[in-house]
């Protein structure tokens, strides 16, 4: 009896702790997102949140769906495997509404050198030129057709 009386304050403290833990567990039940733990230790809905992001690049298959004529021109040339948007930039909005949104006309004077300017770090087999010497300032499409860049009369 005496021992109980002398430890009673400890029991009060223990009660405070227990109540605290219970309150925490109740609050936790409300606050943890419902989809948490669905696939692992994370919010399952996060996957669909991330997958829902709109795209900006249409993808070459979508381009080729309408522009099959360009595809024909490209398929036997050196740029056969260069995707449309590698040069034309992201065109998902254009694919969505082709009549209203038109891709800007590209300036070959600045576009082509991004890949083809000579640089010692590029693979030796990659076609590259020192543009100042090669074309003396002329735009590349003066001689080359970008969709099939080989100059006619030469072997591909």
């Amino acid at each position: 009896m005496n021992a109980f009386k002398d430890s009673e304050h400890l029991l009060r403290l223990a009660a405070v702790f227990v109540v605290g833990i219970l309150v925490f567990l109740v609050i936790r039940g409300f606050l943890v997102p419902k989809s948490f733990g669905e696939y692992g230790h994370y919010r399952g809905d996060a996957i669909s949140d991330i997958a829902a992001r709109p795209v900006n690049f249409a993808g070459h298959e979508t381009c080729e769906g309408c522009h099959s004529d360009v595809l024909d021109k490209k398929k036997d040339g050196k740029h056969a495997h260069v995707n449309c948007e590698a040069c034309h930039g992201p065109q998902a909005k254009h694919a969505d509404d082709p009549a209203t949104i038109q891709p800007p006309k590209l300036d070959t004077a600045v576009l082509c050198v991004k890949c083809h300017e000579a640089n010692a770090a590029k693979p030796k087999s990659f076609p590259q030129v020192a543009s100042a010497d090669h074309s003396s300032g002329m735009a590349c499409n003066t001689c080359h057709q970008p969709h099939s860049p080989a100059i006619s009369g030469e072997t591909k």
Binding site: P33, F36, Y39, G40, H41, Y42, R43, A46, I47, S48, D49, I50, A51, A52, R53, P54, V55, N56, F57, G59, H60, E61, T62, E64, G65, C66, S68, H81, V82, N83, E85, A86, C87, G89, P90, A92, A95, D96, P98, A99, K114, C115, E117, A118, N119, A120, A121, K122, P123, F126, Q128
Partner: protein, 243 residues
């Protein structure tokens, strides 16, 4: 071509099925995508990279990457002769504007594109205190922007330097392997933009994916294999000097 025929043709390719969901912006992934059927990775062929920076620009355009931060970037290496342990490396603005002419023409020069390695045993997901970053069932390491505290522990834990804190959202961010694209049958923005095919998305669970044949017939490496992160970005032609 009339408008209606164009729309007809749009419906034909497989990606067009997903395209409707793309336009609608609905939260569910495309109907014909099951996570457990895929295990994503990437193949990078260093022998083909020309350092044009298309991938860096394409990624920024696709994912609204803030200026000065990089979900992917390209490094240029200059290695003199036998001195593999002391390469000269640069990456001006991550290679986003390409590279200036290579000054040192002696020795070996090449470009190395880098991105998140989508590690199967990623140290970044291990250290996240709340479960805001995780590996999805289809093998892509993702970040839950709504749950991330911005404690930066994951940024410290990544051996490859591919993570950063987005100053607009104050949460961690990194390459998502364009998850929003690959779940709709499209390829990543960087692979789409790459003119030489140096970057190729790979689905290791797809028996028809060309990566299987490639891995069997080439010597490939991963970055920092001693970190044992089980990286899923494979490099063909990676030099020993690459950090």
């Amino acid at each position: 071509m009339s408008i209606s025929r164009r729309h007809m043709l749009l419906l034909l390719p497989a990606a067009a099925v997903a395209w409707k969901h793309v336009l609608a912006g609905t939260p569910e992934s495309a109907p014909n995508y099951t996570m457990s059927q895929h295990w994503w990775g990437m193949l990078i062929d260093v022998t083909k990279c020309i350092g044009c920076g298309n991938c860096v620009r394409g990624c920024q355009a696709e994912n609204d990457v803030p200026d000065g931060y990089f979900r992917t970037w390209v490094e240029r290496y200059h290695v003199t002769d036998y001195d593999i342990e002391n390469p000269h490396v640069d990456s001006p603005d991550g290679g986003i504007k390409g590279f200036p002419p290579t000054k040192e023409e002696g020795g070996k020069n090449f470009f190395v594109p880098k991105l998140c390695n989508e590690c199967a045993d990623s140290p970044c997901t291990q250290v996240c205190p709340v479960g805001a970053t995780f590996i999805s069932p289809d093998g892509v390491v993702l970040i839950d922007k709504k749950y991330c505290l911005g404690c930066r522990y994951c940024v410290q834990a990544c051996p490859y330097g591919c993570r950063f804190i987005n100053p607009a959202s104050n949460t961690a961010e990194k390459c998502t392997l364009c998850y929003h694209r690959i779940t709709k049958g499209l390829t990543t923005a960087c692979c789409e933009s790459c003119p030489t095919g140096a970057r190729q998305l790979a689905d290791l669970k797809n028996p028809n994916d060309p990566i299987h044949e490639f891995l069997k017939s080439h010597s490939v490496q991963v970055l920092k294999p001693y970190m044992a992160t089980h990286a899923k970005v494979f490099y063909n032609g990676l030099d020993g000097s690459v950090r």
